[in-house]
């Protein structure tokens, strides 16, 4: 209770202010540590261990964190990986294939910042190493483009754009990389053809939503690559030897045979040259897209301009198209009665 005078005095002492005096140094606080010593050697109690994580280990650590539960951690991990890939020479101990396997599912990540960071990471990947994995990448891009959430859909377009920039030619000639993305893009645009023209119900006041012009632009870019005229290389005598001696330049040279793969339908088929692509485009999408472009051009504004770009691409790409396929609908039943 502090009944005695001594105790009262002790208590008071706690709250007594140190008196500052002119010409004298300021009193040191209680927890002051004197650092002004000099020594020939310093002994550190906790030494740095020899097997401290080197760059590779740190890379792998962050690589595993890319699948973390918390989205900030995922974003940070992606940022670290991006920085590692942007160095010269880029550090990538796991290889592009493994890295892609890990980060591709993040395309449909719910966090916007993670997706944005992912795009940066993808852009940091070396282009020639992405090209062999196009068929796998396109699966996830399609998943993102058709995602139920609008934000992810928009980001899906970004990824698509990136892929086209990086490996446009191999995209359009991959297995399941021509018809299926086209199907997705047209369904996103709402140009699925058919005679029902139900209004888009979910996008509020605007008829097609804000992403509409962008979607058209990506589609036009995609088609541009698809319809790009291949410059025929003149045949030189070395080609004869090169055909069977040199290693093939494209990743899966005999993939079109489909020997060790499940049977493909029309959608998953490879359309290796321009004529094939034009053919299937004309058959499946030509009419629907043409109608859609016409309607969009009339809208004017941003959408109109995008539609004009698309229209130009179409005219250039499909201008020289003529029906070359040997199997017409009439021919289909030609061999019906015969046993092959």
């Amino acid at each position: 209770m502090g009944s005695s005078n001594r105790k009262k005095a002790e208590k008071k002492k706690d709250f007594a202010k140190p008196k500052l005096k002119v010409g004298k140094a300021k009193a040191k606080p209680d927890n002051f540590t004197d650092t002004s010593f000099k020594s020939k050697a310093i002994v550190i109690n906790k030494q740095l261990t020899e097997d401290a994580p080197d760059a590779n280990d740190r890379f792998k650590h962050f690589f595993s964190l890319a699948g973390s539960r918390s989205d900030t951690q995922r974003r940070d991990a992606l940022a670290y990986l991006t920085s590692q890939l942007s160095t010269t020479p880029p550090t990538n101990p796991v290889g592009t294939h493994t890295l892609l396997n890990k980060i591709l599912p993040l395309m449909t990540d719910i966090s916007k910042s993670v997706r944005a960071q992912l795009l940066k990471l993808l852009k940091a990947l070396p282009a020639d190493e992405v090209a062999p994995h196009v068929e796998k990448v396109i699966l996830y891009i399609r998943g993102a483009m058709t995602h139920i959430t609008q934000d992810i859909k928009d980001d899906g377009l970004n990824y698509m754009e990136w892929l086209l920039d990086v490996a446009g030619d191999s995209v359009v000639s991959g297995a399941g990389c021509w018809v299926k993305p086209l199907k997705d893009l047209t369904s996103v645009l709402g140009w699925t053809g058919g005679w029902t023209s139900a209004p888009r119900t979910t996008f509020g006041a605007k008829k097609h939503g804000q992403a509409f012009p962008r979607q058209m632009l990506v589609l036009s870019k995609f088609l541009e690559y698809g319809f790009k005229a291949e410059s025929p290389r003149p045949w030189v005598s070395e080609d004869w030897l090169g055909n069977f001696c040199r290693l093939p330049t494209n990743p899966d040279p005999y993939g079109y045979l489909g020997l060790f793969k499940p049977p493909r339908d029309e959608d998953g088929e490879i359309y290796r040259n321009r004529e094939d692509r034009q053919d299937v485009y004309q058959r499946r999408f030509g009419e629907a897209i043409a109608t859609g472009v016409d309607a969009a051009k009339k809208e004017g504004g941003l959408a109109g301009r995008a539609a004009a770009t698309l229209d130009k691409v179409l005219r250039e790409g499909m201008g020289d198209y003529e029906i070359t396929s040997r199997t017409d609908d009439d021919d289909e039943r030609l061999w019906a009665g015969y046993i092959m």
Binding site: G67, N101, P105, T108, K136, L139, Y140, R142, G143, T146, H147, I148, T149, Q150, D151, G176, K180, K183, D184, S187, V188, G190, T192, G194, T196, A198, P199, R200, T201, T202, F203, G204, P262
Partner: protein, 756 residues
């Protein structure tokens, strides 16, 4: 922002599903996007089924669910013609009409492919979802039952996952049941049965056949499959090399019919609501639509129950009767599982033995090697020897050569029945001998029989009774084999009159309608009674007689009168036309009063069936008379004997029946307590019997006794009477007391016990 709010709801798959179901036209685009999303997710999944990221799996699962729910919506919006076509046809028909179905068509195939190829590595939730989605598609008639079952059956057989097997089994079973409820789907049943049959027969060593056995058994139990094909499947299962499959098949034959009956009884035991009570409650309580509906429901239920009760019993043959080529089957079973060096456990061996002997007994098969096989097992030291004995008796029938059985009986007698053997052993042996001899009396020699009958004098009750059983059996079957003193009065008399004689080997009794002479006799009596009532003489004029019959034989049983009822058409008048003449003869012959003629008369009477057509009413009366006669017979004799006679030789024999009299010993205390407690219900709390009875009465909604009412009467209500009693004059009191005395003498106010 309005946009984000919209998107949020859109992102919710459940909401979207709801929206699509509400308005399929407006949300067509959304569905298509979703469909593309599904396809891309599926591609992602198929690209790497094992290593797929969990979120891919989850989104795939959700999409599968949603699209399965939406698939039918797409179909619903089509013209009804397309609804009835299967999915592929729908595609062709409606391609021009609508965009929807062409997308959902590939859905079932996609699911099927995924499931068939990757069921072993799929995540369990996803796997389950795919299975249920397929079942959902089946329920919505997008795919047919055949498609579903041909998908699920191979997976059921091959999957290593227990939970998936369980799921698939229930789904397959429920689908089979559902497609057989309204009408029997013969086509589907045939395909499934064929699949199961090949499953059992293709690889006899594998345990895959167990699923065929399980499915067939379940379908048999529910009476959905009742023909010969499931029996054929089970037959093949019995001949499997795999022990489990074999035992499953054998068990089916031994117990399936009983199981089926039990299930039927269970379903018929369903409680029907008390309509009276419901009506009463409605009269008292507030009237509401809900109550009315409850009444309607109750009435409906009762009606349905009655209809079910009145419905004709479905003709169900037992599995043993539907068996094709029982001789070959039993030979194969015997050669495969018993005869050679088979490594079966005793338990399953016994089951096989039971099945074989049951078949032999039921179909009267000839399987001579079976009897010699028994020889080595008929010793008291053999485990489960009573079952062996029962099986031997089961395998005996009239057409088994007696010399084959004679050896076995001799062996049983030597091994089991001796003074040195324990009482239980001796009685079991005697019982077994009796059961064998009941089926083939010729197998016994008279010296052995006379020896065995001596055991009547045994001190043990069980042995004594078993010996008595044997004696009474032979009194009926072949009394001349017994010693004179053992024959008994009836048998001696019958022997003397020549009425009883032993049947020869293979002799068949002349068939007839059981109890027909009873009916004929009853008819005769009835006629006589009628005539006596009319005051006519016994030998009245024939014409009169006929007229009488036509006029006043109002009894509906009479066949010649039945056309009046309108229900039964009289087919012939033969009775009226033919009978008078023989009747007259009969009456003439009655006069000399001869015993032999009496027998002849009986024969004449039993010609009833050949001279007239029995109506259903006649048959009902016949059944009644037969019952009466059997009761009469049973009353005179001991109860057990009646039981024995009622047991048909076609039925199987169990070890308990061989052991039965050995269990005559006194019960232990626990058994006695259990017996006393039986049927008394659970007495959870400590209560007096009175209280329990009262609460039971309350629960049944019955009223209380007058005494109870008086005791519970409100005190204030009794006050008035008490006061007036005090104010009575002396005369009034005296009169009241007098009345009380006289009343109590007369048995109370109601005059109980006094004739009114």
């Amino acid at each position: 922002m309005g946009r984000t709010a919209l998107e949020k709801t859109e992102a919710d798959l459940v909401t979207l599903q709801y929206k699509i179901r509400r308005d399929p036209q407006a949300y067509e685009k959304e569905f298509l996007e979703l469909w593309n999303q599904y396809e891309s997710t599926r591609d992602q999944f198929l690209a790497a089924p094992v290593t797929s990221e969990s979120n891919v799996l989850i989104s795939y699962r959700e999409l599968v669910d949603l699209i399965a729910h939406c698939a039918d919506r797409k179909l619903d919006s089509q013209p009804p013609v397309a609804l009835h076509c299967n999915a592929a046809a729908t595609l062709l028909l409606t391609r021009a009409l609508l965009v929807y179905p062409e997308h959902t068509v590939g859905f079932a195939d996609g699911l099927k492919e995924t499931l068939t190829k990757h069921h072993a590595v799929l995540e369990s939730d996803l796997r389950e979802k795919i299975v249920t989605s397929l079942v959902l598609l089946r329920r919505k008639d997008v795919v047919d039952s055949g498609y579903l079952l041909t998908t699920l059956l191979p997976i059921l057989v091959s999957t290593p996952s227990k939970s998936l097997r369980h799921l698939l089994f229930t789904k397959i079973l429920s689908d089979l049941r559902n497609s057989n409820t309204k009408s029997i789907n013969h086509k589907l049943n045939r395909t499934v049965q064929n699949a199961l049959f090949t499953l059992v027969t293709s690889d006899r060593t594998s345990s895959k056949g167990l699923w065929a056995v399980k499915l067939t058994r379940e379908m048999w139990r529910r009476q959905l499959w009742t023909d010969a094909k499931p029996v054929a499947i089970m037959k093949e299962a019995c001949l499997s090399d795999n022990g489990k499959v074999m035992v499953g098949g054998v068990r089916f034959f031994l117990g399936s019919d009983q199981e089926r009956e039990e299930l039927q009884d269970e379903s018929s035991d369903e409680e029907t609501p008390d309509i009276k009570q419901v009506k009463h409650q409605i009269g008292i309580n507030k009237k509401s639509k809900k109550k009315k509906k409850a009444l309607d429901k109750a009435v409906d239920k009762v009606k349905r129950a009655q209809k079910k009760k009145n419905a004709p019993n479905p003709l169900n043959f037992s599995a043993l009767h539907l068996l094709h080529d029982p001789q070959g089957f039993s030979e194969a079973l015997f050669a495969k599982h018993l005869h050679g060096k088979s490594r079966l456990a005793l338990e399953s061996k016994l089951q096989v033995l039971q099945l074989i002997t049951r078949l032999v007994g039921l179909h009267q098969l000839t399987l001579l090697s079976l009897y010699s096989w028994f020889t080595k097992h008929l010793t008291p030291r053999q485990q489960n020897v009573t079952t062996f004995l029962a099986c031997l008796a089961q395998a005996t029938h009239e057409l088994v050569p007696p010399d084959v059985l004679e050896v076995l009986i001799q062996k049983i007698a030597n091994e089991f029945v001796s003074e040195a053997a324990a009482a239980e052993v001796a009685s079991a042996g005697l019982n077994a001998i009796r059961e064998i001899c009941a089926r083939q009396p010729l197998a016994m020699t008279d010296t052995l029989l006379q020896d065995l009958v001596q055991y009547i004098k045994s001190k043990d009750k069980g042995v004594q009774m078993a010996a008595r059983g044997l004696r009474s059996l032979y009194r009926e079957q072949a009394a001349e084999m017994l010693q004179r003193k053992d024959r008994g009065k009836q048998a001696t008399m019958n022997l003397k009159s020549g009425e009883q004689r032993q049947k020869k080997f293979g002799e068949q009794e002349v068939g007839g309608i059981e109890g027909l002479e009873l009916l004929a006799k009853w008819k005769e009596d009835e006629r006589k009674r009628k005539r006596a009532e009319k005051g006519l003489s016994e030998g009245g004029d024939d014409n009169d007689e006929e007229e009488e019959e036509e006029e006043d034989d109002g009894w509906e049983v009479a066949s010649n009168e039945s056309s009046d009822s309108g229900e039964w058409i009289r087919v012939s008048d033969s009775e009226d036309e033919d009978e008078p003449a023989p009747k007259k003869q009969k009456r003439d012959s009655e006069e000399p009063e001869d015993e032999g003629d009496a027998a002849k008369e009986l024969e004449e009477l039993s010609k009833l069936a050949t001279t007239s057509i029995l109506t259903p009413a006649d048959l009902a009366k016949l059944r009644e008379l037969r019952m009466e006669a059997s009761i009469d017979k049973a009353m005179g004799h001991k109860k057990r004997k009646g039981e024995q006679q009622s047991r048909h030789f076609d039925e199987g024999l169990t070890a308990e029946q061989i052991e039965a009299p050995a269990r005559l010993r006194k019960d232990t205390k626990e058994e006695r307590i259990a017996k006393a407690k039986e049927g008394k219900g659970e007495r959870s709390e400590h209560k007096s019997t009175q209280a329990i009875r009262k609460s039971k009465k309350d629960a049944e909604g019955k009223s209380t006794t007058n005494q109870e009412k008086a005791r519970k009467k409100n005190f204030l209500m009794t006050l008035g009477k008490a006061k007036s009693k005090q104010k009575r004059s002396l005369v009034d009191t005296r009169n009241a007391l007098k009345n009380h005395i006289s009343r109590s003498k007369a048995g109370g106010r109601r005059r109980n016990g006094v004739a009114k």
